[in-house]
Symmetry: none
Subunit: 224 residues, 4 copies
Amino acid sequence: MPQKNMAANKDKTIRRILDGATKVFAEAGYSGASVDEIAKAANVNKATIYYHVGDKEALYVRVLHEVIGQTAAGIAARMNNSMTPAEKLATYISGIAQTVENYPPLPPVMMRAVESGGQILSPEVAADLMMIFGILLEILEQGAREGVFIKANPFIIYLMIIGAVAFHRNVEANWDQKPELAMLFKQMDPDFYTKLEGSFSISVANEVTRLLLRALEKQGPQKD
Amino acid sequence: MPQKNMAANKDKTIRRILDGATKVFAEAGYSGASVDEIAKAANVNKATIYYHVGDKEALYVRVLHEVIGQTAAGIAARMNNSMTPAEKLATYISGIAQTVENYPPLPPVMMRAVESGGQILSPEVAADLMMIFGILLEILEQGAREGVFIKANPFIIYLMIIGAVAFHRNVEANWDQKPELAMLFKQMDPDFYTKLEGSFSISVANEVTRLLLRALEKQGPQKD
Amino acid sequence: MPQKNMAANKDKTIRRILDGATKVFAEAGYSGASVDEIAKAANVNKATIYYHVGDKEALYVRVLHEVIGQTAAGIAARMNNSMTPAEKLATYISGIAQTVENYPPLPPVMMRAVESGGQILSPEVAADLMMIFGILLEILEQGAREGVFIKANPFIIYLMIIGAVAFHRNVEANWDQKPELAMLFKQMDPDFYTKLEGSFSISVANEVTRLLLRALEKQGPQKD
Amino acid sequence: MPQKNMAANKDKTIRRILDGATKVFAEAGYSGASVDEIAKAANVNKATIYYHVGDKEALYVRVLHEVIGQTAAGIAARMNNSMTPAEKLATYISGIAQTVENYPPLPPVMMRAVESGGQILSPEVAADLMMIFGILLEILEQGAREGVFIKANPFIIYLMIIGAVAFHRNVEANWDQKPELAMLFKQMDPDFYTKLEGSFSISVANEVTRLLLRALEKQGPQKD
DNA sequence: CATGAATGAGTTTTCATTCAT
DNA sequence: TATGAATGAAAACTCATTCAT
């Protein structure tokens, strides 16, 4: 079966391309990334990228679609209809954090995607982003409907979550290069930063969840 | 006094360069911006940029320093020692929003600055960012000391503020190009988006403030 | 065998580049030569130079290596172990002259190479120069060992040879542009300059050989 | 007397310019030298160069004229009509060497001047070079007339002298950067290189003189 | 399917030169 | 006399893209 073999090879090649591109786009952004660099990262010839995927923009769209689509799917999968809005929100936030944890290039890619506000975004990518946002929207609406959440601007909540998780992951990723920065943060909140070495995103998610639940839940948060 | 005149001209030229560069960097990011484009935006000869400021990276650092430094100064100026922590937080957030309102290129520039996590950042710019963060830190510490705020990770709060304000401004800026997006958001929260046309950032700031105070203040927020 | 064809084309392209570069570097020197000009002389796209060879300095080093290496090889090829030191010296000098005759750009390139004294010189080029010098060294040592040559500083002899041959060829090359100069020289030594039109370098070599043998040979040169 | 003062200042400025230019041209050649660099070396404003001397080429011609003219004058001054041709030749060679010793930038400047064969050379500079050459010409002619020198091509002798002295000085100047080169030469001819540390040029001159006298003098050099 | 070669159109940067003061 | 500012032209180098094989 030479066909099958060839097709499998083709898939492997495309996979290599997308992985390489994801890495390079995440590190350098759209204009900062060069097709040469991507080809090297993917260990394929530059022309192969054009043959299989198309030009730089098509490649970028495909990477975005894949990365964001996977995040969306991952979050949706965790969600469970029998959960309370508060549980859903916790799941949502930790779902994003988890994806970030497993998939470091996500935050910058996502940031640039949101940031560009649709400039380079294909309808597919826009749909992916909307899907992620849509899940949150439903949670908040359910909460409001059930009288457990106050009414709040969902887009702002969304941005607060994304901002915290994405930026934090990113700053953290650069701690190696700025040890004095890491030191500073660790001094500020020693408990937070020493308890969970290696799983920052999750503790970030917990803190964001805690804060947002305090912000959203109607019955004033207890004594604390 | 010929010198005085020349010096004034020089200052004007540098101003034009920095303004043009700020605009172009904000729109296109570091690698997306070209020195040619900046020169055109600044209405100066390309070589003049090199004469007065230096290479592209030096120009970028200078723009970052100016933009972020001004934000820091603006926020610091609004703050008043006699305010309560809650008032201070409100002032802080609206201070950032105000600067953003008056200075549209700030969010993407700032995002990239935070995002790059120090890679391209000069010590000066890092200091500026730290100054902005430091103000918040003090507010939160004062609140905790006075027993009015719960203890919370300050960096995460910081990121939530920046994320919401910066991203929001940015998405908003692209609404013209994606009218269906604007429509969507307006449908989601019609009150919010119709009340204060033209001053989005301020209403964003109010919403962020409201949410964060609910999250931070110790006595459970009242009825609401 | 498509590869073979492509490889052949590649070789031809590189050849064109090196030939063009040799010409332009020889005429204008390193800083005087522009990559644009070289591309035009080689009849290739500028980017092709960067693709195949690398940047300007790499190109220069490669040209030097080729030109000087060929000279070294050419001289070594003419030498014969059964020759007397005097015969070897004559062969050596005429070998250099011959290469110069066949390869006009050599002298300025070589001069600059020696002149720069190692600044831009790669180890490869330095080795080539040393090889040329090494051949002379051996001749002189053999002569001294056999008692036919006086002891003399070999490096100075080397410089006298290179200086005379290289400079002469070069000045000569510019005679077209300075006819009065040519005239002057021809008046000074009419025999020399009229006997062997078209083969200056060889008569230069003969004269240099004659003088150096007189200088080096132990038994006082005969009647003359 | 403000005029006098101003004139003196002007002269000082021009001196600084010429000294700086000589240095930079000697190090980098004509195209390798930049007016900016010269201005910095001369500690004057770039425009001042244009004001006092003219454009880059005019500056180059002026430097050449000064450098070569001084050499010519220096040699002529040492010469004495009562000397024998052999003494005159020795004086001539050591005169060039002496100037080189006192004035390091001379060799490269001179080399480029001869090399360019008139391309950039002004009539003045050509005259200077001819003057230096003319002195040698006369010595050789006198020697031939008096029957003490054989007939030899004067231009080749000239090139042998210049080549040895100029190149040697130059290679030597780069010994600091290529210690292994220096080592090699010193091993080859230890007597030569250890006896007269610090005055290479003079011993080079002596060696060149010795060799050329052996080559030129009619009565076969004695026993040796 | 895959790739090395080639290139047009950029990009960043430098530089000799002029000019107002 | 002297200079800081400004610039057009050109330099070195990069990059997304195409094409023959």
